[in-house]
Every structure is written in C-alpha cells, then in structure tokens.
Symmetry: C2
Subunit: 335 residues, 2 copies
Amino acid sequence: MPTIEDIARLANVSIATVSRVFNNKPDVSEKTRERVLQIARELGYEPSMPARSLIKGKTGIVGLIVPDISNPYYSEIVRGIEDTCRTRRYNVILCNADNKREKEFEYIDILKNRWVDGVIFHCDYFSEEHYEAFARKNIPIVLAGRATAYDVPYVAIDNFKAAFDAVNYLISLGHERIGLIHGPLDGMKETIDSVDRLMGYKKALSEAGLKICEDLIAEGDFKAKGGYEAAGKILKAGVKPTAIFAVSDIMAIGALNAVLDFGLKCPEDVSVVGFDNIDLSEITRPPLTTIAQPMYNIGSVAAEILINLINGESVERKRIILDHKLVIRSSCKSI
Amino acid sequence: MPTIEDIARLANVSIATVSRVFNNKPDVSEKTRERVLQIARELGYEPSMPARSLIKGKTGIVGLIVPDISNPYYSEIVRGIEDTCRTRRYNVILCNADNKREKEFEYIDILKNRWVDGVIFHCDYFSEEHYEAFARKNIPIVLAGRATAYDVPYVAIDNFKAAFDAVNYLISLGHERIGLIHGPLDGMKETIDSVDRLMGYKKALSEAGLKICEDLIAEGDFKAKGGYEAAGKILKAGVKPTAIFAVSDIMAIGALNAVLDFGLKCPEDVSVVGFDNIDLSEITRPPLTTIAQPMYNIGSVAAEILINLINGESVERKRIILDHKLVIRSSCKSI
DNA sequence: CCTAAGTTCGTAAACGTTTACGATTCTATT
DNA sequence: AATAGAATCGTAAACGTTTACGAACTTAGG
C-alpha cells in the first residue's frame, strides 16, 4: 500500500507538499499539485485514516447504539442518522444491543476504546451509568427518540400529547369504552414513553368525563404476540370495548388479529389505533389509523446535533420535540 | 486523555512495559502488572485505537454495504453479521446505500479510504467495478445473500430449488393455474435471485406437465405496492389463478391484499405463498405459507468467512449454500 | 562465591500522517 | 541590479502505540 512518502519520492517533492495537496491547503503551485495528484492516481494511493485520526485526535466516526436493528421503528431512525452522517462526512459504527443490557454496556466500553467522536444513543432506559461513561471522557452523546432528565441533548416527540390526541380522536368518534395496550412498566424495562403515553390516555378520558376502567388496560411488550395477548385480555374482560389503542403499530397489528380471532370485525365491532406509523401500518387490512412519528427526522436531527456538538459549535436547543401527526386510515369507525 | 506514557511515568516503568500489560504479553511480573493496571484504572485510560491501527496495519473494522437497512430482510442479515463480528471483536461500519447505485459507490470509496479490514457486500447487482475496487487493494470481501460468478466468496441459498419447492408444494395441493410475482428483471435492477426463482417456477410447472402461461406471470419490485399491482394484473387476466407465488413476503402481503380487494378470499379462493419468512409473515391473516431463508445465518456465516479471510486463514469452501425450508401456515388450501 | 540460565524490563525505531517554522525561489519595484 | 515581499517548498517534531533487541537483575547449581 503506497504512502505519502512514495508519492513524494516519485514527484520529487517533500511529504509536506503531498500532504498539502491532499488537504487542499494553499502554498502549493498548480503544477506540482497536478503532478502529485497524477502520481497518486497511478499508485492508487489512499490516505491512511488511522494516521490521520492519530494526529488529529478525531476519528470521524460516531457510535450508534440501538436496541434492535430489525425493529422497523429503530431501523427507520437509523436510516435518518446514517444519511445525515454520510452527508456530513462521518461514518457510523453500528452497535446492536439485541435488547440486552449487557451488550449495551459491552458496546459502551468498545466505543470508548475506539475513540469515537460521539455517540447516538437509543436505549430503552437511559441511566446514570450511561451518562457517566461518556461524560467523563468528554465524548458528546445525544439521545434519538427518547427523552431524559439528564443533561443530555435529545430529540423525541411529545408522547403524552400524542397519546392524548389518539384517544381524543376515538372519543370524538363516540367511543366510550376504549382499551389501552401500553408498554412495559415494571422496573428495568420501563420506558418514559410508556408512562407518558399511559398518562396521555388517562388524561383524555378524564377530560371527557369518561371513567378509567382498569379492565381495559393491559400491558404489552412492543411485540405482535404481546399485543395479541393484551388485546385478548381486554376483550375477555366484562366491559366490551368498542376501541383499542395500542401504543405501537406492531402491537396494534397483534390486537387486530385478536379481534379477528374473537369473531369480531375491525372497524365495525372494534376500532383500533396504533402508534409509530411504520410502513407496515398501511398494508394491514384494514389499514391502521395511527400516530405518525417522524422517525427518519428524529434520527436525522439527532445526528445533526451530535455533529455540531463534536465540532464545538454551540447547540442552541438541546431538547427538541418534533411534531407527531394523527394519520387516519380505515381501522376506526364512529359509533 | 491519558496516554501510555502517563501511566509509565506514574508506575515507574517504561512505556514498553505498559504496552505489554495491555496486550497480555509475557515478560512482566505480577507485581508491576497489578500496579500498571491499578494506575490505568485510576486515570481512566483507554488505549488509542488509531495508534494501534496505525502500527498494526489493521483497523478491526469491517464495512457493511447494504441496499436498505429498513427492509426487514436485510436488517435480519445485518443482525447476523453484527452479532458474529462483535463476538470476534470486530466492529462494523454501516453503509446504507438507500437503493441508490451512486451511494453504493460513494461508500466504496469511503471504505477504501477508511482502511477497513474487509467488506461485506449485499448489493443487488454485483459488477466488475465492485470486484475491482477492493481486489486491487487486497481487501477481502464476501457477499451475503447473493451469489456471483466472480471469484468472491458468498453465502446464499439455492433460489432455483427454493422456488421449485414452493411451486411443487402448490402443485401437490392440486393447483394448476399458479401465478408468479417475480422481482425486477430489466437491466440494471436485475438480480440473479429473481432469474433463478423464475426458472425454478417454470421448471416445477413443466416437470408436472403444466403449461406456462405468460398471463400468470407479473413483475414486482419487492415492495408491497408492487406485489399488489402485480397480483392485480394476474387476477384480471383471462385465466383465473387458484394460487399465487410471490417471490418475497412483502410482495406476498401486497398480493394478499389484492385478492381481498378483488372480493376473493385466501386461501379459499386463491392460495398465496411468499418467500423469506420475515417476522411479518406470521402475523398476517391468514399467516403466510412461505419459503424460509436463514437470514441471520447468512449474515453470520458471511461474517465468519470474512474474518477468517482477514486473518489469512484459508477458507475451505468459498461458496456456501444454506438450506431453505418450506414453512406451511394457513395461506394455502388444497383444491 | 561464580556462573549460567531465566526473568523482567528499557531503548529506540517504526507506523503514516499533519503542521509550525524556516528556507528557498520567484516576481516586481526601484 | 539590488532588494523587498510573495509564493512555494522542505525539515523535523509530534500523535500514541507495538516490538525487536539487548541490558539488568534474579535465581539455582556447582
């Protein structure tokens, strides 16, 4: 593999000049610039990133820790992150935690060791440890898709308001017995999102003068099967719901199947609304009414902030709330 | 950020000794090893990857070029790749080509420049250019999920046989008018997969003495909408099909919706079989009968081969065909 | 106590860049 | 022609490691 020195020798210049050429620095005549470039091309020269990183103290790499890359919600965020990193000339090291806490921390160690310039995080539960790990090393981090109380920039949506809007829509359609399938709420796996959405649900009901019935509330795990089972529980309870709000599209699809398997029809017998607006949600039958999250943008904006942080630019707003939107398809019917 | 030298000074040893400690080399007493480790811990020392990479000539990073990370088929392969890379202490730089040829080549340049140790490729159309780019630099590459005629290791399935099996299953159920939704076949976007699967379909028909009817064959684009439209074309044609084989689950779901929208029922009126066995395929109604590809394993094995190649180990088999499997669910009915 | 072998450690060069600083060459002005 | 200033270039140090080689020290056997 040819080095800067090989080129210098063949071009009859010093390595400094060659370096200047490749960094588009001034102080080199057009003639020599051409000559150097020509020789470099012939040799198939590529500057060595490790050497550059070493002397600059920057690697041009950002770490990306994500719970599960095969989850369409995450992969869409990842798309946004990857895309703006590319245009800003950064590369991303993919760290798939596989929904395991140990792997997450394993990766944190690896990333510190790799001397990444920054880290984009999307862990379900952002803790003191996460914060400390990088704060001590002055490695900037930003959270994509999740809020936090720590002094860490994040970009997310207003989950409370989003759930509130969804349930309100159902109420406006005349529904009074509205089931809820929320996310994990027990200890380790609890997410702020789940809590916020649950509260949004309750707020909407109570504002409308509807009473909150615990039999209509069940816990899912953000998987289709979990949604299916939660919906089953709700459907089996005494009070027959006329609508179910699942806090993720995947769970909503599970719920959809559950109502079918109960011999009911959607939306005629029970309306269903989801959350996220993943691609999937419009190819179900009926297509899902859902709360759209701007996944791609969440990733994109998070990456933008991180890179600004890396470059020492002051970031005016550290907590960004992006707009959600209710997209109405055919899984809901007025009563 | 503390360096090896800081530690050496505080521990009253030379930098060579510190280096030996962190590489678990012999020739250092237990006492000094402890002392060095202790001081390193206090300082929060992390060895510098760039410096290491520079002197070793290896970065411990592999590039991963993939057409679309948000496609569940790819993301499952990515999971496999990422997982075995992690256990083998490699990191992966994610390159999402976004289904664009330019971005693919942009990334090829970037990866060469990054001095990655190897590259895992999954491009729809592997060409001379792809091959040349890395061959010239002695950077090993392997193809995950796609075969090629070039001298490049790959791991894939036998697409011909898989399609053959799927259609044969339909035939064994008594179907005679079987529609096919294949992938893109025109020039740039053509994939060997699509061709092989199309041929498997035809072979199965002709072996069973059934005639091939062009009206029953339509082209999709591996998207749900494409599957929907292709199925529409097939359904509208003169000969009424009793079954449709779509060459990807996503397209099969589109087809499923099309038969519903034609006022037909699946599987009563028309059976549908898909291809891939992505998670989605079992949460449709009815759950899809499909050809299962071992996506995770394809990625995992590909990574394994690449890493062996990087380490100069001779790879016995360079062309690996993994087993597919027909998974029977409820979207097919005997006639 | 002497020597040989083994154990533990340090010195210095190397990896491929970037960059501050100074040196040389060129151009233009007098 | 002499000189100032600009344009162009080279020298060398630095970045943080790894590692070959050899030096110093320890231990054991006689």
